[in-house]
């Protein structure tokens, strides 16, 4: 057993209102620079939709992630042989137009335009070339299902649905969507790290954050292809790849990452989980329907005395073990089994888990009547307007049972709380729902509390980074007093 600690995350999709505040917080801190304008380390997508970059989930196009290869896994579009063979031209790499060409407006024209019959306009100009451009796409071009025939219907998760099921999703009365905020998953089996020929990408041992060493990145661009979530971005100006750093300078000083901190809907939870690094390869190599269970098996019970003993032997600080015991992520993922990884079939073992949205799946329409009685709510979980198959394609590698299970648990909590606060439901119905998922009232109340009323410190349980110890080994602490973050010693200027 090789126990390590990993910063893990939960996004509660029922609570996401799609306001993009997280994206803006991230943009203002990290990617508001030349060459990084097009990057959204945090972005919010509408599902169904094609996302950003367009069709990122379709690995027939981008060849990201891992594929099963006998008893183990191998990189789909990169790796030692394929990577070095394609180093002069990477055939599966997304280019700027697959994201969008960033632009600004020529605001000065509003002031300097000569007097005339028309209102002066500020024309868009490209932030790459500085020339006038016709805006063709943006980071949220299909926000709220805008332009659906071109976007929502191209969603790769619809492939497994029958034509009738697909059609029913786009009937006006049944139409539904939900948001999918995405950041780097800081995976346990990161494809980006494995694909980097120069070894610039690495996983931090202390907290599992995946980073790119900007000094070692040589622009071989393999990580951009290999990350199936397309969360490694190429900075065309500096000639280096960049990615979400999970705001590690903030984490190290005990603050939540900016996108977490700023989240208006309070959908985000962050905490550490202990895991067994020896199980990574076997868990990534199981068959598709077992992927979720295999991944859940990696994470260990932080209350188990044996786990604690092994963790201490591995040098994990007691404060980190305490944080793991209080971790909201551990509760959502392991105890309550409400959160699932996004696209586990990419086999990177992502550490960002999603509580699937229950709300858009609740009501049904029969005979033109919007029916939301509790009876139909309950029966409706499996035969819903957002098909379970669709959610299964997103969160459980096609295993519909996993999604139904989560939905029933979410519904049991909802019925229980309705019984407590409104009291208009038949108590037998509530207990049936609770019993079916083996949930007691205390658990349901705890889920309700962490979902709806959690305070800042309950949502973000951040272990002390013990930077005071680690940094002393590397640098004279006096030199870096008051500093945090990169410690760049030179201007990050483009090479010659």
């Amino acid at each position: 057993m090789d126990i390590r600690s990993q910063v893990c995350m939960v996004f509660h999709l029922d609570k996401c209102i799609g306001c993009h505040t997280c994206s803006i917080a991230c943009k203002n801190i990290w990617t508001d620079r030349k060459g990084a304008e097009y990057m959204w380390w945090n972005n919010v997508e509408t599902k169904p939709g094609t996302g950003y970059p367009t069709k990122w989930e379709n690995q027939d196009i981008y060849k990201g992630g891992w594929e099963k290869n006998g008893d183990t896994v191998s990189l789909k579009g990169a790796g030692k042989f394929k990577g070095l063979k394609n180093i002069f031209h990477n055939p599966h790499m997304p280019v700027l137009d697959d994201y969008y060409e960033p632009w600004t407006y020529k605001y000065e024209d509003l002031f300097t335009a000569p007097e005339g019959d028309d209102q002066p306009t500020a024309r868009p100009i490209s932030l790459v070339t500085g020339e006038h451009m016709d805006v063709q796409a943006g980071p949220n071009w299909d926000d709220d299902m805008g332009g659906s025939p071109d976007y929502a219907r191209q969603d790769v998760n619809l492939v497994k649905l029958s034509a009738a099921e697909q059609e029913s999703m786009f009937q006006l009365e049944r139409m539904t969507f939900h948001y999918l905020p995405r950041i780097c998953n800081h995976c346990l089996n990161p494809a980006c790290v494995a694909s980097c020929p120069s070894g610039a990408l690495y996983k931090r041992g202390e907290d599992g954050i995946v980073l790119i060493n900007q000094e070692r990145c040589r622009a071989w661009r393999m990580c951009v292809t290999a990350c199936p979530y397309k969360k490694s971005y190429y900075n065309w100006n500096t000639g280096k790849s960049e990615k979400c750093v999970l705001c590690y300078p903030r984490l190290e000083s005990g603050q939540a990452p900016a996108c977490f901190h700023s989240c208006v809907g309070r959908i985000r939870y962050l905490g550490v989980m202990l895991y067994d690094a020896d199980k990574i390869e076997p868990a990534a190599s199981v068959s598709e329907d077992q992927l979720v269970d295999a991944q859940m098996d990696i994470y260990l019970d932080p209350f188990d005395p044996e786990v604690i003993r092994q963790a201490r032997l591995n040098g994990i600080a007691d404060s980190t073990i305490t944080s793991a015991q209080n971790s909201p992520v551990y509760k959502f993922v392991k105890i309550w089994k409400l959160a699932l990884p996004l696209h586990p079939e990419f086999r990177t073992l992502p550490n960002l888990f999603y509580v699937p949205a229950l709300l858009p799946t609740m009501a049904t329409v029969s005979n033109g009547v919007y029916d939301s009685t509790s009876q139909s709510l309950w029966n409706g979980v499996e035969s819903n307007r957002l098909p379970m198959k669709y959610l299964a394609s997103l969160f459980s590698a096609g295993n519909t049972g996993k999604i139904v299970d989560v939905m029933k648990r979410l519904m049991a909590v909802r019925l229980h709380r309705r019984g407590v606060t409104v009291g208009d439901l038949n108590s037998a119905e509530i207990s049936t729902a609770m019993n079916e998922v083996h949930m007691d009232a205390d658990t349901a109340n705890a889920i309700f509390r962490l979902t709806a009323l959690a305070t800042f410190d309950e949502r973000f349980v951040i272990p002390p980074a013990h930077r005071e110890e680690s940094i002393e080994m590397l640098e004279a602490t006096g030199d870096v007093k008051g500093n945090t973050g990169f410690g760049f010693k030179e201007t990050p200027a483009r090479g010659l």
Binding site: L201, Y202, K203, Q214, W220, I471, M473, L474, R494
Partner: protein
């Protein structure tokens, strides 16, 4: 005098600049050591330009290196005319690949606005030197055929004398092919330009990827080693596994 300047002073100056400059840039300006790929801005034209260019240069580079290091083996190979022919035709084909590649790269840069935005002055110098180098090489191969055989008489003694710090320029100075002289001079200039241009990226070609483990985990400081070590000397600061 001109010959001494071109075939003695220039080579040594260029190689000194190459050695000192490359080390300096790697150590002190590590951030700038990158292939600064522009595939992200333009990917389609690049395929037909970059692939023949790089693979052409790849084989030509190692061809030249082998000819320089093992001239007798190459001469022995050329003992039979058919093998000489194969070698010459293959080399010329790789030369053409590189030539077509570099022409397409220049055209791509001229016609793509986005790529122009990331074109520096040194990129133009790179193109000029590469064009000189490749064109002169092709002309030598065409006008002074069977170079893989005659190089041993003209070039190897000269190059060897340069590398053992006892430069003898008689052989190279007596060559009456202007293109061969241009080829040698531009080759040394190219070496001298490495620290100042994107040429530097070929020095960091990631061969070590072949024997590295796929996943890399790095501890700031390996606490496991600190706490379990029975020795006073603490564990290594890096743990790569």
């Amino acid at each position: 005098m001109t010959n001494i300047l071109l075939f003695v002073v220039l080579p040594y100056a260029c190689m000194a600049i190459f050695l000192i400059g490359s080390i300096y840039r790697y150590v002190n300006k590590g951030f700038t050591v990158s292939s600064i790929s522009s595939q992200f801005l333009e990917g389609k034209k690049l395929f037909w330009a970059s692939q023949p260019f790089h693979w052409g240069l790849f084989f030509l580079f190692f061809g030249h290196l082998i000819a320089f290091l093992f001239p007798r083996a190459v001469l022995a190979w050329n003992g039979q005319p058919i093998r000489l022919l194969i070698l010459e035709v293959a080399s010329f084909a790789f030369g053409l690949c590189a030539f077509i590649g570099v022409i397409l790269l220049v055209l791509r840069r001229l016609t793509t606005k986005r790529v122009q935005m990331v074109t520096s002055k040194m990129d133009i110098v790179v193109f000029l030197v590469l064009l000189t180098q490749i064109v002169s090489g092709l002309l030598v191969a065409y006008y002074n055929r069977w170079g893989s055989s005659w190089f041993a008489a003209f070039l190897t003694p000269y190059l060897k004398s340069v590398f053992v710090f006892n430069p003898q320029i008689d052989a190279i100075a007596s060559v009456n092919s202007i293109w061969l002289k241009v080829h040698v001079i531009s080759a040394f200039s190219l070496i001298g330009l490495i620290p100042f241009t994107r040429f530097i990226h070929f020095l960091v070609y990631p061969v070590d990827y072949l024997w590295r483990s796929y996943q890399q985990v790095i501890w700031n400081w390996d606490r496991r080693n600190i706490r379990t070590s029975r020795f006073w000397k603490r564990g290594v600061p890096f743990k790569n596994n």
